[in-house]
Symmetry: C2
Subunit: 375 residues, 2 copies
């Protein structure tokens, strides 16, 4: 197995669970894990400025190669010497390869053993992505961590198709590794196999054999029952060697993240805090609030009286409700900021709990508020 070009150091291991605290030393800065990466699909965490991300203590964001390839186009980003300069964000970035987007967002034309032909969701123009192209694109974008291009299947998925996609993703991952030349970028492999234990095992075995700087669990959190998700996460964690960062893609709620942390996951990304923020929903220490709800029309309280963010210091639920009902951009801004603050605080609390051996207790607390929603 090749040594990682990107140092990942485990600084603490929980004695009671599989959780650990790690330090990823990336070209654009250090990232303490477990970490949550806010999603900047189109080179912007929706409604939030870089200044605010820094203020929130965000150490790494996720951008999307598929979106950036279509718009502004890789030639534009190359003109700036990479995405960091283009967007003025100088802390670490991870780019998703675009595999997921090609299968979920684009009009798919055809998949073959070498790659995918699809039509842009923006203008219908035809494009082709291959593992080689996706890797070159991500090298040009210049993120600190890039992902292998994969063949993604929906849930539920027949065994035959799941196996085919897993084997193809593995073959493509090998091509990504062979294509990848930038030593200042980590390349993560993506594990597949849908909901089938044996396929997941086989995927892990084969991917470890190729060897990557880190391993992501792909193809989960796509509609399957939660218990199945965590069964497969647990299985994966047990089979992966400890010394590499582990990334659970597209997860999730605070409770989901906490559970995954206790199983040994290091990295997360999810659109929940930003997307829900834009629709009026706030995460709080007592559960979720839907600020569009009429019950908040004259509510003087902040979103969460236990929260220390600038939104909770100054703005009432009633005012934020008014902004959301009136279609004011500021409503989306304030809720997104608060939700990202909630997620950042959550990750800090999780790291503290791992250090103090109190993770199980924190997971229980998060389970209690998981279902609580006011609407």
């Amino acid at each position: 197995m090749p040594l990682s070009v990107i140092p990942f150091q485990i600084v603490h291991e929980d004695s009671k669970t599989a959780a650990r605290i790690g330090r990823l030393s990336l070209p654009h800065g250090e990232v303490l894990t477990p970490v949550f990466m806010p999603v900047a699909t189109q080179a912007s965490v929706k409604a939030i400025s870089n200044e605010e991300l820094e203020e929130l203590g965000i150490t790494i964001i996720l951008a999307n190669a598929y979106h950036l390839y279509l718009r502004p186009g890789i030639h534009v980003i190359e003109e700036f010497g990479g995405l960091h300069n283009f967007m003025g964000w100088h802390r670490p970035i991870l780019t998703d390869s675009g595999g997921y987007q090609v299968f979920s967002l684009a009009q798919l034309r055809s998949v073959d053993d070498d790659g995918v032909t699809f039509r842009s969701h923006i203008d219908g123009s035809e494009h082709r992505l291959t593992p080689e192209a996706a890797t070159k694109i991500q090298e040009a974008i210049g993120a600190d961590i890039i992902m292998c291009f994969d063949d993604v299947v929906p849930y539920p998925c027949e065994y035959r198709r799941a196996k085919e996609a897993m084997l193809r993703s593995t073959k493509w991952a090998k091509k990504c590794k062979q294509t990848h030349t930038r030593v200042d970028q980590a390349l993560f492999g993506i594990l597949h196999g849908s909901t089938y234990h044996d396929l997941r095992r086989q995927s892990i075995e084969m991917m470890l054999d190729i060897g990557f700087d880190g391993y992501a669990i792909g193809g989960l959190s796509v509609g399957e029952p939660k218990e199945l998700t965590f069964e497969l996460v647990e299985l994966s964690m047990e089979l992966l060697p400890k010394g590499f960062p582990r990334y659970l893609m597209g997860v999730g709620t605070p409770y989901d993240i906490a559970r995954a942390v206790s199983l040994g996951v290091d990295m997360f990304d999810c659109v929940l805090p930003t997307r829900l923020g834009r629709t009026g929903v706030a995460f709080t220490s007592l559960g979720k609030l839907n600020l569009r709800n009429a019950r908040y029309s004259i509510d003087h309280l902040p979103i969460d009286h236990q929260c220390s963010c600038f939104v909770c210091k100054r703005y009432s639920r009633a005012y934020i409700r008014h902004l959301m009902r009136s279609g004011e951009i500021l409503g989306a801004r304030l809720l997104t900021y608060h939700n990202l603050h909630f997620y950042a605080s959550l990750m800090e609390m999780l790291r503290e709990a791992v250090k103090n051996g109190t993770l199980a207790e924190l997971v229980r607390q998060l389970k209690e508020i998981e279902g609580v929603e006011d609407s």
Copy 2:
């Protein structure tokens, strides 16, 4: 003429023009004039937070009684003891009475000598506003400066209708003054008469006779030729006594504001910096830029290299263009912030120029860039 409850002190008069620098001492703070008031129609300067307004040095904002009356409703604002607490903005506010909105935005049902019946532009519900009601509403909203409820006519307007509306606005203004009881609020009269010199003169005479804390020029900047606008502004300035603040409603471009300042206007409001910002247009020291223009697709420069705002320190034209094309909220945020910074700097430069006797030169410079637009 009654004494103003709100002290307005002229601290400097230009020897070469009619411009002056003044200080309005309002319950929520001092406002140096000439001043530009960003528009917070629905209790939010679109896309901008209170924190940012403070950072920009904004000393007073404008909100709209018509909009707030319909949503969130006056009972909500009363629950908070006024708009300042409701929106968490503790510097001065001016509210427009809603006259303009009733005539431009609502479905008008009927105007009579006592008031206006209209349907809400939001849900079609029927409402009635009278000078008395508009004043009570603005007392409940609790702005530092409130405006008389007026009968607004479009441009062009027949003499007969212009005269009728002017006389009605004057009669209503008297009722507003009689209704108004809050001594911690200034009440401004609005001068009318469309584009007719004699009606403007008559309006000023009658309104001065009633006596207000300040005088606004209404019914201009509604499509009439610019030269006519400034002819009528000049006429009005000559007839108004010096000791009261003068407010030119809905104006305008940087050059328009500078010209009006040199004629003796103290206060301005306009949606231009915010509305244009949201559509991709930036004000700069060299004219306007439309950041959606393809020529900026790989432009490394800031919006305006002479600008010191946080946007120009960090973000390139190419990135902002990408954000606008991609429909990212951050694009609207960055451009709006920059434009408000441009307007705030403009007002500072105008005040400096009045002090230094260099206003005429500054007006000439602003005239030169007025027409410059890249698209």
